[in-house]
Structure formats: structure tokens, C-alpha cells
């Protein structure tokens, strides 16, 4: 009983104690004095996302937005009480305008454009076809981004496997590879790498990650092949058959002109990383030009250009594509709505965690690539991987290394940069909320007759498949 009391007391102290030690070191801003208990709303929202669809599905479907509002207010109100309404408003607006808006607009744009492209032809989903599609999607992720590739490939994969009963594992591996791991080769692939690029990491440097990508692809696809083969055989043994009564299949793509809009969106993303460094978008003090919103919060001109270009691409895509294509694709707003609602809450409630990370990151005593890989990765599994990447990139840059890649944050050894990049990109696959397309793929699959695993179910998949692969990565690439 005494032990339990001590444990509880210690827990309460941690919860109630603002991180004053950190504050005394480096100033008085809210970011440096955030108490850990302010992370409770974030944990609460994650638990709701994980548990309520399992126990109160109908209720959750109807009341999701209220849950998001509830947990967001549970962070905003105490935060406002502690640091003032002005700081709270500034914090919320900062994350809404500079993080969430560009995030959801990009997702929206890619969702719209990809939904206007349909693959015609009766390819039958088999282990071989699925491997081909996963490889194609994975490689495409570095060319058009993980979100773009996921949105483009998810429907063809669902369609090819529509004859099968056991197909949720296909979508899980799709999330692993196409929605995450495939994005590591270029700054277009995943937002953290774009941030690295804007901090001076050469554009084509990420191609150094190709051996890591190849290794991961081989191991994961090997596991997938045997698993899919087993499930494929079970489906056949139950008498399920694809309709291949017509001899031969001609694969054609309808709505192909939308690739122009896809390129337009990719260009917008690249510009958002390039423009802030150009003098014409900076004022005399070297700050990026923008429209003042509230306090320090500004909507920067490059962000505005990015948003405008993406929305224009989405609009033109809709205007120039037949409704029939969207009908065939079972295009609905459900998936993007769900992500938009949930991620408002996730973005707001994860602010204290990010603030703590910014302060604690450099003090964690991480100095080896394998540590960088796991810490960046573990945090990227639950938090936004872009700020996580930046925190550890800054930490590595401040370690005064003599050899490596020269960035605006300092010189970073190649292995260290590889570890941070891989951690941020790969481990977004660990949870549904680790990367934006994960949840989109889940929602689209749910809407098309596929039993996707629950939040914990998916986590279990990650633990069984991804964690062993990441351990292998550690041994092969980052430990020695």
C-alpha cells in the first residue's frame, strides 16, 4: 500500500510539475515551461480514436467532431489559463495556419486529383500482381510523394483484389510501403525530407537511402508474399474466384490528363520548400514575407502560393473530369472528412508534446545514429514527423561534427542524417496517425468492403512486421 502511495505521489508530481528546470535554462516562453500533463488531451484523443470505433462505433461515427472539440478545449483552456489567452490563441492559430492548413490542403488536392483517375482492366489480385503494384507504388512515392502515390494506387489495389475475402493485410502492407517507406528517396517523398532540403540538405542526397529502401522492400515484400500466398490459397480453397471469363485484359487509365494537375501539386510542394529561401520572399530582416493574422502568426506568401496552386489543381481536375470516373472510383468525401476532423484535434492537442520535444530533444544525450533512428522514429509514430525530424536535425547540427553534409544547421555526418531521415519517414508507418495517408488508406478501404484492423490491431501488425525489420535496419545500417 505504501509502495502504491509513493508511486501515485510520484506520478502526481510529474503531472503537476511544470518543467521549470528547462525554463530556467532558456527563458520564459510557454514552449519551455509546458507541463507534461498538458499532453493528456493528446493521449485522450488517441485513445478515443483507438477504442471508441471498437466499442461504440455508431456513437463515434456521429460524435467524432464533438470528441475532437472536447479534447482540443481540454488543452486550450488550461493552456490559456496558464500562459494567457493571447499565447493560447497564437499557439492554436500557428498550428492551424502554418501546419494544419497546408497539410489538409495538400491531402485534399491529391485526394481530389487521384480520385479522378481510374484504372480500367480486370487484373486479378494475386500475390504476384499485388507485389508488382506494391513495388510500383513504393517507387512512385518518392516521385509524387507518399500521399500522392497512396491516393493514386489505393483504388487499383482495392479493385484488383475485390474478388478476395482476405485482403486487409494487403492494405496494411500498402500503408507500410507506399504510404511511408517509399517516400524516402527524394524531398518530394515525405515532408520531413522537404524540410531537410530547405535546411541545406542537397536535393538528390536522399538517393543515398536507396540501399536502405531496397533492403526494407525486399524483407517486407518477402513477408508479404508468403502471407498473401497463404491467404490467397485460403480464398481459393473457399471457392472464391476472380472473373476471368474474357480472354486477356487490357489495362488502360481513364482521366489521365489529371497527371498534369498532379504535377502542378508536386510543383506547389517543391515551391513551398524553395521559395522561403529566395530573397524576393524575405523582408530586410530575412524573415519570410506573409500576411499577419494574430500576434506573431503570419500566413506566409510561399504557403499561400502552395495552397492556391493545390486548390486550383483540384478545382480544374473536377471541372475537366467526367462524373462517371468518380462513380467508378466510388469517390466520396468520407475519407477526407474523417481525416480533416480528426487531424484538427491531433494537430492542436499534440502542441504541448512538440513543445516539450523541442526543449528536451537536444538534452536527451543522443549521439549515435541508431539512437537517432529509434528516437526520431518512435516519436514520428505518434507525432507529426516534420517537426520531429527538424528537432533532431537541429540537435545533430549543433553537435559540431567536422565531417558530413553541410546544412544551414551545421555539419551532419551522413550516417546520422540517414538515421534521422529513415526514422522520420519509415516509422510513420507504425500507427494509423503516424503519417497522413495512413488514415486515408484506412478510410477508403473501410468504405469499400475491407475489414481494416483497429488502431491497436494495426499497431500489432507494426510490432510483428515493422519492428523486426527496423531492428535489422539498425544492425545493418546504423549500429556500426
Amino acid at each position: 500500500m505504501k509502495k502504491l502511495y509513493c508511486l501515485l505521489s510520484a506520478f502526481m508530481m510529474i503531472l503537476a510539475n511544470p518543467m521549470t528546470a528547462l525554463a530556467s535554462q532558456s527563458g520564459e516562453s510557454a514552449a519551455e515551461t509546458v507541463p507534461i500533463w498538458l499532453c493528456i488531451p493528446f493521449a485522450g484523443l488517441l485513445l478515443c480514436i483507438a477504442i471508441l470505433p471498437l466499442i461504440k462505433e455508431e456513437w463515434w461515427e456521429k460524435n467524432k467532431p464533438y470528441a475532437v472539440i472536447f479534447w482540443s478545449l481540454l488543452f486550450i483552456i488550461p493552456f490559456a489559463v496558464m500562459y494567457g489567452a493571447g499565447t493560447a490563441t497564437e499557439t492554436v492559430l500557428e498550428c492551424m495556419i502554418n501546419d494544419y492548413m497546408t497539410f489538409i490542403v495538400l491531402l485534399f488536392g491529391l485526394f481530389c486529383v487521384a480520385g479522378n483517375i481510374t484504372l480500367e482492366g480486370d487484373l486479378a489480385g494475386s500475390p504476384r500482381v499485388n507485389i508488382i503494384m506494391l513495388v510500383l507504388g513504393t517507387l512512385l512515392s518518392s516521385v509524387i510523394g507518399t500521399t500522392g502515390s497512396s491516393m493514386l494506387m489505393v483504388r487499383p489495389v482495392i479493385k484488383a483484389n475485390s474478388w478476395r475475402k482476405r485482403r486487409s493485410h494487403i492494405m496494411v502492407f500498402f500503408i507500410f510501403l507506399v504510404s511511408n517507406i517509399g517516400g524516402c528517396l527524394t524531398p518530394i517523398g515525405d515532408p520531413p525530407l522537404l524540410m531537410g532540403f530547405s535546411r541545406g540538405v542537397p536535393f538528390f542526397w536522399s538517393l543515398h537511402l536507396f540501399p536502405v529502401l531496397l533492403f526494407n522492400m525486399i524483407v517486407i515484400l518477402f513477408v508479404f508474399y508468403w502471407l498473401d500466398r497463404r491467404n490467397y490459397r485460403k480464398d481459393i480453397a473457399e471457392g472464391l474466384m476472380p472473373d476471368i471469363s474474357k480472354p486477356g485484359t487490357t489495362i488502360s487509365i481513364k482521366g489521365l490528363h489529371n497527371l498534369i494537375f498532379l504535377v502542378m501539386i508536386i510543383a506547389a510542394v517543391i515551391l513551398s520548400g524553395v521559395l522561403p529561401d529566395m530573397p524576393m520572399f524575405q523582408n530586410a530582416a530575412g524573415e519570410v514575407l506573409g500576411i499577419p493574422i494574430f500576434g506573431e502568426v503570419r500566413l506566409t506568401i510561399p504557403a499561400l502560393i502552395e495552397v492556391a496552386m493545390i486548390l486550383l489543381a483540384a478545382f480544374l481536375s473536377f471541372k475537366t473530369t467526367s462524373v462517371e470516373i468518380r462513380k467508378k472510383n466510388h469517390f466520396t468525401w468520407g475519407a477526407i472528412q474523417e481525416v480533416a476532423v480528426l487531424f484538427v484535434g491531433i494537430f492542436i492537442t499534440m502542441q504541448p508534446a512538440l513543445m516539450i520535444l523541442k526543449v528536451m530533444g537536444p538534452n536527451l544525450g543522443i549521439s549515435h545514429p541508431f539512437q537517432m533512428f529509434w528516437v526520431t522514429g518512435a516519436l514520428s509514430s505518434f507525432l507529426d514527423n516534420t517537426p520531429t525530424y527538424l528537432v533532431f536535425l537541429t540537435t545533430a547540427g549543433s553537435m559540431s561534427f567536422a565531417q558530413g553534409i553541410t546544412t544551414t544547421l551545421g555539419v551532419i555526418p551522413v550516417k546520422m542524417l540517414m538515421a534521422i531521415s529513415c526514422g522520420a519517414v519509415f516509422m510513420g508507418a507504425n500507427t494509423y496517425i503516424g503519417n497522413a495517408p495512413n488514415f486515408m488508406v484506412k478510410s477508403i478501404s473501410d468504405e469499400n468492403g475491407i475489414h481494416m484492423p483497429s488502431f491497436f490491431g494495426y499497431l500489432f501488425w507494426s510490432v510483428r512486421v515493422l519492428i523486426p525489420v527496423f531492428l535489422l535496419d539498425t544492425i545493418v545500417f546504423f549500429l556500426f
Binding site: S126, P247, G248, T249, G449
Partner: protein
């Protein structure tokens, strides 16, 4: 607790299937649906779930239908569908957790395997006999003689030829994995030909790409099997026949088509001796190896597509040791059994 008869369960299952179909048609999607295996099979699947007291499995399937239904753009249509959905869900909720008493009886299987054959086959059903045989037991001759005696069609590698025709594929690039190689020796019936299971011609890269399109991205063997399954189900609606090998018994069983399944076999030594008698110029060592290899290869094929053991007699109506009766004796015995069971 409401009591449900089997008819009620079938009606409920049919309504669920219809709702799924309705939602899919309204949406006009091409990405697949919840019940993608045809109404008859879906109904049987659902009834078995309900009967075994696993209503929660069905509720999960219903949740997927509702996921799709919620995306219907027209409000009125969506409302109508959701009302129908709620009514069905309500009925599922009323299902007792244990509808059936514990029994070894597989009702679906039992219906297909009714002892009195005249009860198994309805007026409109065709009379189909599926024969599986071990290599060299004289099964081909028995099957042929039986078809002849019953005056019904006989199919073996003719099935494969038809599959190739449907797939627009050439025979030199394809091997019939579903049966053994024999030639028609006229009055003597079917005889063994060599080489059975010969290697197929190695395709060029261009050919591989063509095959990818021809077989819808599937491995050649799988595409042949699926096409063969469709063909057998189509044939079963049209004519009475005897079919050798090709997993026909399981294909028909999975598709709930009444049939009679027979396994013909004989001791290994006797099968080797028989092949040596039919082909006196063959070497005994080679024949032994061949018999083992043939059985193994067909066994693998059978297991891959059915998940079952080909030589397990428990899933056949009749399993015969042909060495105890001889070719004609086995034919007579089967005929006798059929006659008695149709009375």
C-alpha cells in the same frame, strides 16, 4: 428469445445480400463489395454463421455495408437504405447466441451427400460423377467405361483443351496440371502416354508479357484453374457427365452443385505392375519413380487449390480399391450402387 427456422435465416441472409447489392449498384462503384461470391454461396455462408451463434461476425459484415451505404450521395436513397439496414440489423440482434445443438453433422455437406441419390439430385439437376484416381490404378479406363455404361459424356483432358480455347492460349506453352496424360487407344479405351507432366516450352520475355495480359496477371496454372472452374459450373447446368481429376469434386462442392464423388486407388506395387504390363518397354525403376512423382504432383496441385488432401477418403462418397474388383468389376460395382441408391 425469438426462434428462427432455417427458412427464416435464409430469408434474412438473402435480404442482407440484396441490401449489399443494392448499395453497390446505387454507388456504381467498380471497387468491389462485401459479399462478392454470388448469392447462393453468400446465403449459405451467412446462414452457417447465424446457425452457429456467431451473430457478431455478421454484424461486422453489416458494418461494412453501412460504411458503403453512408456514402450514397442522394439523401432520400440513403435514408431508405439505412432504414432497411437498421431493420436487418435489428433482426440480427435478435438472433439467439446458440441456434444449433452441437452435432458432428455438416448440414450443407449432408444435403449434397444425401445417401439416397434420388434425394440428392433434383429434377433440374444434371447427373455428374467426379472421379479422382491415383496414378496407374486403371481409373481412366473405369471412368471411361462407366460413362459409356451410363451413356453420359466423359471428360478428362478435353476440359483442358476447352480451357485453353477460352483463354486463347496455345497447348505447347501449357501443361494440364489437373489430370494425367493419356491417349485414346480406340477400343482399348485410354492408355498411358509418355512423357506425362513433360516440361512446357520455355517462354520468351515477350511471351511472358503476353501471358501476363492473357491470364489477367495471374500465374498460368491459377488462371487455368479459375477458368476450368467456371467451365465446369457452366457444364454442370447443361449436361450429365463423368469428369476425371481437375479437382472437380471440390469445385462443384464449393459451388453447391450436386454430384457424386469417387476415389479410385490401388496398392502401389500393383499399380507399378499394371503400368509395366500396359507399357512393356518401360523400365521398372523409372515407372516406380514416375508413379510417385505423378501422385505427388497432382497431390500438390489438389492441395494448393482446395486446401485438402487428395487421397483422404473422408471427402468422397465412394472410395474403391480397384485391385479388389478389377476395371470391369469396379464399373459394375459402382453401377450397382447407383442403381440401388436411385431406387
Amino acid at each position: 428469445m425469438t426462434q428462427f427456422s432455417e427458412r427464416d435465416l435464409k430469408k434474412l441472409a438473402g435480404s442482407i445480400y440484396d441490401l449489399d447489392e443494392k448499395v453497390y449498384n446505387i454507388l456504381g462503384s467498380s471497387l468491389g463489395r462485401v459479399f462478392n461470391s454470388g448469392k447462393k454461396r453468400a446465403v449459405i455462408y451467412m446462414v452457417s454463421i447465424m446457425a452457429s451463434g456467431k451473430g457478431y461476425v455478421l454484424r461486422n459484415e453489416m458494418a461494412l455495408i453501412s460504411n458503403m451505404a453512408r456514402t450514397i450521395p442522394n439523401k432520400e436513397e440513403r435514408k431508405k437504405v439505412m432504414i432497411e439496414y437498421d431493420q436487418l440489423l435489428h433482426q440480427i440482434m435478435e438472433l439467439p447466441t446458440n441456434q444449433m445443438t452441437v452435432d458432428i453433422l455438416d448440414e450443407d455437406l449432408a444435403k449434397l451427400k444425401t445417401i439416397r441419390l434420388k434425394h440428392r439430385f433434383d429434377e433440374e439437376d444434371k447427373f455428374i460423377i467426379c472421379i479422382e484416381r491415383t496414378y496407374g490404378c486403371g481409373g481412366t479406363g473405369i471412368g471411361f467405361a462407366l460413362a459409356d455404361a451410363l451413356q453420359i459424356n466423359y471428360y478428362d483432358d478435353e476440359i483442358f483443351d476447352e480451357v485453353l480455347k477460352r483463354l486463347e492460349a496455345e497447348k505447347k506453352y501449357n501443361i494440364d496440371h489437373g489430370g494425367f496424360s493419356y491417349k485414346n487407344a480406340g477400343t482399348e479405351g485410354y492408355q498411358y502416354t509418355e512423357p506425362a507432366f513433360k516440361a512446357e516450352e520455355k517462354p520468351t520475355l515477350k511471351r511472358k508479357f503476353e501471358d501476363f495480359s492473357r491470364y489477367h496477371g495471374l500465374p498460368k496454372r491459377d488462371a487455368q484453374f479459375f477458368n476450368q472452374s467456371h467451365l465446369l459450373c457452366d457444364m454442370a447446368k447443361e449436361e450429365d457427365f463423368v469428369i476425371m481429376g481437375h479437382c472437380a469434386d471440390i469445385i462443384l462442392k464449393r459451388n453447391h452443385i450436386p454430384h457424386l464423388s469417387i476415389l479410385l486407388t490401388a496398392p502401389f506395387e500393383l499399380r507399378v505392375q499394371r503400368i509395366l504390363k500396359v507399357n512393356p518397354n518401360m523400365d521398372e525403376k523409372h515407372v516406380r519413380k514416375l508413379v510417385k512423382q505423378q501422385d505427388e504432383k497432382y497431390g500438390q496441385y489438389y492441395r494448393f487449390f482446395t486446401g485438402m488432401d487428395w487421397e483422404d477418403p473422408s471427402h468422397y462418397d465412394i472410395a474403391v480399391n480397384c485391385s479388389a474388383y478389377g476395371v470391369q468389376g469396379t464399373v459394375d460395382m459402382i453401377q450397382h450402387l447407383l442403381k440401388r441408391n436411385f431406387e
